[in-house]
C-alpha cells in the first residue's frame, strides 16, 4: 500500500491521491492503489452479478456490458472508491483472488445496484471488467481509459451468495500515460491528455447551453 493512502469503504471515507504523487517519475509512479492482502468485507448488496464472458476489457477496445446473471439473488459486494486516478488515463486493475470466489468491475463516479431488471443497475456507469475470476490461477485484470483525475469506483462482489465471506484478496490499481505502459509522461501523451481535457471542457460547455 502506498504511504499515505488508505483502503476505505463507501460511505465511510474516500481515497484522494494527488496528481503530484501519481505524476512523478519514480519506479512506482504508476501505483494508484494497492489494497494489500485483505479479507472480503461487505459494504453493500447487489442483485445478481455481471456475467463472466471470458473477455477482459483492454485499452483501445470498448467492451459491451456483458449482461447480468443470477439475478435477483442478492450478493454482497465490497466497494473501493478512488476519487482521483491522477494524471494517467490508462488504468489497469488487477484482482488476486486465489479461491476464484470473487469478481470485480470498474465504474465511473458511482456504483448504483438496484433490484430492477434487466441490468439491476450494474450497467450504469460501467467501464469494464476482467471477464473471469482468477483465470488458470492467475490474478484477473482489466484495462480502461479515463480522463485524468477521474473518480473510479471498483465493486468486488462474491460470485455466489455468501461465498465471499472470509475470502482474502488483493486489489491493485495502476495508471499509465499511454498504452505502452509508460510511467512517465511523454510529450505526445501530454498532448493527448490536454486534448482530452479540452474536449471534456468543450462538451460540458455545450451541454450547458439550453435547448430551444
Amino acid at each position: 500500500m502506498l504511504p499515505g493512502s488508505v483502503k476505505l469503504h463507501l460511505p465511510i471515507m474516500r481515497i484522494a491521491l494527488s496528481a503530484a504523487l501519481l505524476g512523478g517519475t519514480t519506479a512506482s509512479a504508476n501505483i494508484i492503489y494497492d489494497s494489500g492482502s485483505v479479507t472480503f468485507s461487505s459494504t453493500g448488496t447487489q442483485f445478481g452479478r455481471i456475467s463472466r464472458d471470458g473477455i477482459s476489457s483492454v485499452w483501445g477496445v470498448v467492451k459491451a456490458f456483458p449482461g447480468v446473471t443470477g439475478a435477483p439473488t442478492a450478493r454482497a459486494f465490497e466497494l473501493f472508491d478512488i476519487l482521483d486516478t491522477g494524471d494517467t488515463p490508462y488504468i489497469q486493475i488487477g484482482l488476486d483472488d486465489p479461491t476464484a470466489s470473487l469478481f470485480m468491475a470498474g465504474y465511473l463516479n458511482s456504483f448504483n445496484p438496484v433490484n430492477v431488471s434487466p441490468s439491476f443497475g450494474l450497467s450504469t456507469n460501467y467501464l469494464g471488467d476482467p471477464g473471469d475470476s482468477q483465470p488458470f490461477g492467475s490474478p484477473s485484470f482489466f484495462q480502461i481509459i479515463v480522463t485524468p483525475h477521474s473518480h473510479l469506483v471498483i465493486p468486488i462482489n462474491e460470485l455466489n451468495p455468501g461465498g465471499g465471506a472470509g475470502q482474502s484478496f488483493e486489489l491493485l490499481v495502476e495508471g499509465f500515460y499511454d498504452s505502452s505502459y509508460s510511467e512517465t509522461p511523454e510529450p505526445a501523451s501530454l498532448l493527448l491528455c490536454g486534448a482530452g481535457i479540452l474536449a471534456l471542457g468543450l462538451f460540458r460547455a455545450f451541454a450547458r447551453v439550453p435547448k430551444p
Partner: protein, 644 residues
C-alpha cells in the same frame, strides 16, 4: 548392462511369455470384445490393410457389417471428421499425380492440399470412395485425419460451459463517458492500441528505449488463421505492411495468428511480419515453413500448431521443415503446448517401455501392456483423442501394437474406443489413435495390446487435448516443437530451434514489472514439459542402433522446452484478451529474439542461442529443467549479451 543385451532380454521376456500366468485385471467380457475386434483385424484384405482402422470400421458400419459379439463396435468412430457434403477428412500417402487428384474429385471428394514432393494429399472423400482409391497402385495408405490444434487459450472458449448460463441483462455496447464525449467532438485520441504486458515483463520497453526495435528483421508467424490483420493494421496494432501469404483453406479460423503477430510487433515494432496458415495439413504446414524462409526470407519463424499424429521419437514432416530452415540460418520458435506437466500433476502423457502384463486364453495371440501395478491407465476427465506411438521408424513399423478404451469398470470397449491399424513393415507408421467427438468419459480405462512376435518398444501414450492421465510421466513435449533443428545432423548448424513454455505475466502477483525469476514466476500449471527422447534420425536411422528403449538409455535426450515466456496478456484480436497459453508465450520469445537479432544482425544462431539462454531467468528447478528449460527469456540482458 549393454543396451543391446538389455533389449534382447526384454525381447526374450516378451517372446518367452514368463508373465503368461499373471492375472489380467480386465474383465472377461472386455477381453472377449477385444478378441472379437482383433479377429476382424486379422481378417482384413490387403486393400483394407492400406486403411486406418477407423476407416475400416466406418466402411463396415456403412454396410451394416457389424461384429456379432460387439454390435456397437461396428459403428464408425464418432470423432471422424465428417463433412455432409464431401465426406471424411483423410490423409492419402501416394505418388501424387494429376490423375490421382482428378480421381478424388470425380469420386465426389475435395482436395484440401496436396504435396507431390512430400507424397501426401489431404482431402475430404466420400466413404464409399475410400476403398476404390485405396485400390490404386499409386496409393500407399489412407488414414482418417483429425484437425490440428493450437496452443493458445481463448478464455471465452475455456469458459464455454459457464457462458451457457442464462444472462438476464442485455449486452449493449457501453462506451465509457470519455469515449462518448471524445467521439462526439471528433477527438478519438484515447482509442489507442493495445499492448501486451509482456513488453514490460520481458524488459523489451527498455531495449526499445535504447533504439533496438527489431529493424531489418523479418518474422513469419504460423497459426490457424489471421483474419484480424486488416483490423489491427487500422488500429496501429500491426504495421501497414503486415502480410498474409498463405491463408487457411477451410476457414475461418480463430484468428489466433493475428494475436501472435500483435505480440511480436509490440515487442519488436521495427520488424516486417508475415503470416501463413499451419492448419491445412501437416504437409502444408511444412511447405509454409519453407515458404516463409525461402520466399519471404524470414529470419525468425514462430508457430503454435500441433497435429495429433506427429511422431514422438523421430522428426516427422513438420520437424524436417524446421530442420531445413534452421540449416539455412533461421531461428525457429515453437509453442511446446498446454498439455500439462508432471511437476503440477497435470501431465497428459505416459512414457515407458512395453512391459508384458500377461496373456489370456480369451485373447489369443496378444499380450497386454502392464503400466506397473495394473494393465490399464485411466482418463481423469472426459477426453476426446488418445494417441499411442512407439519406437519404430516412420513408414517402416514392424511391431504391431493396438489401443483400446474401456468403460470405467473395465467390462466393455467403448464405442470408437479401438484403434487396430496393421503395422507390417513398409508403409506402416508406429501409431494408433482413438477419438470421440463426445469424448471418452472420466475414469475410462486405456489398454495397450501387442500382437505375438511384437518386440518391446518405447511407448508414448498421450491425450492430444491435454487432459490428465491417472498414471503419468514427464515428456509431453514432442513433435516439431521438440525439434533440435539441424543441430543433430550438423554441429555447426547456423540456425536454432526453440521450444517455449508459458509463464503468466503477473505470476508474481504484483504490479506490471519485469519478471524476477525464481519461485515468483513459475511456469503455468498447464504448460507442457519435457524432456524429449529421440530414438531415430529424420531418415529413420537409429541414433543408438539396436537400442530403442528408455530402460536401456537408448537414443538421445533433448532438453525441451528451451525457454519460457509470458502469457495471459492483453491483445486486441477479438477473443484473445486475455491471451493464455504457449502460443502467447512463444510469440514473446520470438519478439525478444527479433530484438537480439536486430542488435547484431551478423550474430550466428549459436551466438543468439547463447545470448537468449545464458541470460534467461532461472525458474522452476535450478539450472536447465524440464518445465522451463533455461528459464524466462529477458530482452535487456540478451541484447547486452549479443553486443558484448
Amino acid at each position: 548392462m549393454k543396451p543391446v543385451l538389455a533389449s534382447a532380454i526384454w525381447a526374450g521376456l516378451l517372446l518367452a511369455g514368463p508373465a503368461a500366468a499373471q492375472d489380467i485385471d480386465i474383465s472377461d467380457s472386455a477381453l472377449q470384445q477385444i478378441a472379437a475386434i482383433l479377429h476382424e483385424k486379422e481378417s482384413r484384405t490387403s486393400l483394407q490393410q492400406k486403411l486406418s482402422s477407423s476407416l475400416v470400421y466406418a466402411i463396415n458400419a456403412s454396410r451394416s457389417v457389424s461384429l456379432a459379439a460387439v454390435p456397437d463396435l461396428g459403428a464408425a468412430p464418432s470423432g471422424l471428421s465428417m463433412d455432409a457434403q464431401s465426406g471424411i477428412l483423410v490423409t492419402i500417402k501416394a505418388t501424387v499425380s494429376a490423375d490421382l487428384l482428378n480421381s478424388i474429385q470425380q469420386a465426389g471428394g475435395r482436395v484440401v492440399y496436396s504435396s507431390a514432393a512430400l507424397g501426401a494429399i489431404r482431402a475430404r472423400v466420400p466413404l464409399s470412395a475410400v476403398e476404390t482409391l485405396a485400390g490404386r497402385a499409386d496409393v500407399a495408405s489412407i488414414k482418417s485425419a483429425l484437425p490440428p490444434r493450437h496452443s493458445g487459450v481463448s478464455l471465452a472458449d475455456y469458459l464455454g460451459p459457464r457462458l451457457a448460463k442464462k444472462v438476464a441483462g442485455p449486452a449493449k455496447p457501453q462506451l465509457n463517458v470519455v469515449q462518448r464525449i471524445l467521439g462526439k467532438v471528433g477527438l478519438p485520441f484515447f482509442i489507442g492500441n493495445t499492448t501486451t504486458q509482456g513488453l514490460i515483463t520481458h524488459g523489451a520497453n527498455t531495449v526499445q528505449a535504447g533504439g533496438v526495435r527489431g529493424n531489418g528483421i523479418r518474422v513469419g508467424v504460423l497459426s490457424d488463421s489471421a483474419e484480424s490483420i486488416p483490423l489491427l493494421i487500422g488500429t496501429g496494432d500491426l504495421p501497414p505492411d503486415a502480410l498474409n501469404v498463405a491463408d487457411i483453406i477451410d476457414g475461418p479460423g480463430s484468428s489466433q495468428g493475428s494475436a501472435m503477430m500483435e505480440i511480436v510487433y509490440d515487442l519488436a515494432p521495427g520488424v516486417q511480419i508475415f503470416f501463413a496458415s499451419a492448419f491445412n495439413s501437416p504437409e502444408s504446414f511444412a511447405d509454409n515453413i519453407r515458404l516463409l524462409r525461402n520466399t519471404y526470407h524470414c529470419d525468425i519463424i514462430v508457430d503454435n500448431v500441433s497435429y495429433s499424429d506427429e511422431p514422438a521419437f523421430q522428426d516427422g514432416v513438420i520437424a524436417q521443415a524446421v530442420n531445413d530452415v534452421t540449416a539455412s540460418g533461421a531461428l525457429y520458435f515453437s509453442a511446446t503446448g498446454n498439455a500439462g506437466n508432471l511437476t503440477n500433476g497435470t501431465a497428459s502423457v505416459w512414457e515407458g517401455d512395453f512391459s508384458p502384463g500377461g496373456t489370456s486364453a480369451l485373447l489369443p495371440g496378444y499380450t497386454l501392456h502392464s503400466f506397473g501395478s495394473q494393465s490399464f491407465n485411466r482418463l481423469l476427465t472426459t477426453t476426446g483423442v488418445v494417441n499411442l506411438s512407439w519406437s519404430d521408424p516412420l513408414g517402416n513399423s514392424t511391431n504391431d501394437y493396438d489401443l483400446f478404451v474401456l468403460n470405467s469398470a473395465g467390462t466393455a470397449v467403448l464405442p470408437g474406443g479401438s484403434s487396430t491399424t496393421i503395422q507390417n513393415g513398409a508403409g506402416s507408421d508406429p501409431f494408433e489413435e482413438v477419438f470421440s467427438s463426445s469424448g471418452f468419459p472420466a475414469n475410462a480405462r486405456i489398454v495397450i495390446a501387442a500382437k505375438a512376435g511384437t518386440q518391446p518398444r518405447a511407448l508414448h501414450l498421450n491425450n492430444f487435448f491435454g487432459e490428465p492421465l491417472q498414471l503419468k510421466t514427464t515428456g509431453r513435449t514432442h513433435g516439431h516443437s521438440a525439434s533440435a533443428g539441424c543441430v543433430l545432423s550438423n554441429a555447426a548448424c547456423p540456425g536454432r530451434a526453440f521450444g517455449v513454455a508459458a509463464v503468466a505475466w503477473n505470476s508474481a502477483r504484483g504490479f506490471t514489472r519485469p519478471f524476477v525469476g525464481g519461485a515468483s514466476n513459475p511456469t503455468e500449471p498447464f504448460s507442457s514439459d519435457g524432456p524429449r527422447r529421440m530414438f531415430y534420425k529424420a531418415d529413420g536411422t537409429p541414433i543408438t542402433a539396436g537400442n530403442v528403449l528408455f530402460g536401456t538409455n537408448g537414443g538421445i535426450v533433448l532438453a525441451k522446452p528451451d525457454l519460457a515466456a509470458a502469457d495471459g496478456v492483453a491483445t486486441r484480436t477479438p477473443g484473445f484478451s486475455p491471451f493464455f497459453g504457449a502460443s502467447a508465450a512463444v510469440s514473446h520469445a520470438a519478439g525478444v529474439a527479433a530484438l537480439v537479432k536486430s542488435a547484431n544482425p551478423a550474430a550466428t544462431g549459436q551466438q543468439i542461442f547463447n545470448a537468449l539462454t545464458s541470460t534467461a531467468l532461472d525458474i522452476r528447478a535450478p539450472g536447465i529443467d524440464r518445465d522451463s528449460g533455461y528459464g524466462i527469456v529477458m530482452a535487456p540482458a540478451a541484447v547486452n549479451a549479443i553486443l558484448h
